[in-house]
Symmetry: C2
């Protein structure tokens, strides 16, 4: 079955101590949609400006991503994030952000999109995530991703959203901030009380945690000897995760979530090995499955 | 088979935002020996002063820990660490350290100790770890633990030690410091080049990594909803780990190391649930095995 993904479609300029990479294809929806497209038919809901390179549209299309929901504003500017990483590639800071066409965007779904069973509200303002969700007709499973920015500037919208989604994905420091609880494990129970039946906490190189009706799952990350650029790794994780779930022909979502997280972690590991989407684009079903088998061996006891 | 443990036998005064806990039984050898004693006969090599409370000697003895190698210096002062934790219990700082009888200690092993097959050089000055190792007669498996202090003030001794041990245990920031490599996975290869066939990296709440001839193992930590005092958790981990290995009747060390790390992680989880040794003392073989089974379920995919 298919996946609908809404989020940012952006141009990312990423500086590292070793290189400058201007105007890469980026954004939460780009990373997540590419990741999901390994597993399931994927529909992208986003907005770009007239400056959005045609080659990036071709890139989406080459992955079979449905672009009917990608709005193009000819006289507008594409969302642009400019950031830099420190030597260790863990700490990043934003140098500049141009919201552009995202600023006043209110997505309208093409008619045939509303019955998509799997929905990923990738990282974007919670108000936009809500607008999309309100247009959906009884989706089977809805995941929302978020970031610290929305906890700071749009908490009320986020709390409203949490009552309407099946699963929230956030990182460990965001979980601490949202619950004012320094212990991530006890924070999980507090997040469930805000709405979502499932909560997934991303911990980067330390893996991830799933909490749901079936209890806790502690998932490893794929161990990488070299991280080139972690931008989009979290989006790739959740996109790969939901794509994997959507691709299963039988059984409950619950039954597949653990292996879905492992597949998400593997797609995220590829994402980290190159700038922008470059390394993810080189991955294949075969190389993904090989890393999943490796993780099975690495985690067995 | 039995385990010999050398390290610090200390009095720990631990402040937290909520409580002061003066003169608890602490030290790397105390935590490690208690952890190992759940699984295997344990010999303790350490030194204490005349101020060392008799009740703590009784406590060791109640666990069947062999104290023939515990030196008592009547007119000396026991090693005393005074530290405090911040609210989140992850950051700690040392308020005061009195080395006391450890300062000029040169351990001499009782004759019957030299043939102990499993040796844990728990955290103490590398020169002392070397002195003990030189008195051993063909041990089957030797693990050395260390800390950032020794990387800073006794690196030459530590590097000498690394050529003589089977396994080094250290935390992720120490691994980065030792190798000047920010990536923990690639740091592992560099540490192997310094000597040890096995390297274990402790990551606290994020679990641990084992690297050895059989490849990499990514071990989960036991997820705790509340951490009271993490002091000694690393020592408990490695003590439990080696005690578990020593208790196996057949098969290679390699074969048992993964499950040994899981058992070590579980003993460490108990350690974190109380001040000093209090919570570890309440654990039993049954409660340890129950958490091991829980971890099996939590990590399965």
């Amino acid at each position: 079955m298919s996946v609908l993904i809404v989020g940012t479609t952006a141009l990312d300029s990423i500086n590292t101590p070793k290189a400058k990479n201007p105007r890469l294809l980026g954004g939460s929806a780009s990373h997540a949609a590419l990741a999901a497209s390994f597993f399931a038919p994927t529909k992208l809901v986003g907005v770009v400006g007239g400056d959005f390179p045609a080659k990036y549209l071709k890139l989406y299309a080459s992955r079979g991503i449905d672009l009917t929901g990608l709005e193009r504003v000819k006289d507008g500017q594409t969302f642009h994030w400019h950031g830099e990483y420190e030597v260790n590639m863990n700490n990043r800071r934003t140098l500049n952000t141009v919201l552009g066409v995202i600023e006043n965007w209110s997505p309208k779904l093409p008619g045939e999109y509303e019955r998509t069973p799997y929905v990923l509200l990738a990282n974007i303002a919670p108000a936009i995530q809500l607008t999309v969700l309100e247009q959906m007709s009884k989706p089977k499973f809805v995941i929302a991703d978020t970031m610290d920015l929305w906890l700071n500037v749009a908490l009320a919208d986020l709390l409203k959203l949490l009552k309407k989604v099946d699963c929230l994905v956030l990182n460990d420091s965001e979980a601490r901030q949202l619950t004012e609880d320094d212990n991530v494990v006890s924070a999980l129970a507090k997040i469930h009380k805000l709405g979502p039946r499932y909560v997934i906490i991303k911990k980067g190189e330390h893996g991830s945690l799933l909490s749901g009706p079936g209890g806790l799952f502690v998932a490893p990350a794929y161990p990488l000897k070299k991280v080139v650029d972690p931008t989009g790794a979290g989006d790739s994780f959740v996109g790969g995760l939901l794509g994997y779930v959507a691709a299963q022909r039988s059984g409950s979502v619950e039954k597949h979530l653990r292996r879905a997280m492992i597949h998400g972690a593997v797609v995220a590991s590829f994402c980290c090995e190159g700038f922008g989407l470059s390394a993810t684009l080189k991955a294949t079903k075969a190389t993904i499955n090989a890393r999943v088998r490796e993780l099975e061996k690495l985690a067995r006891f």
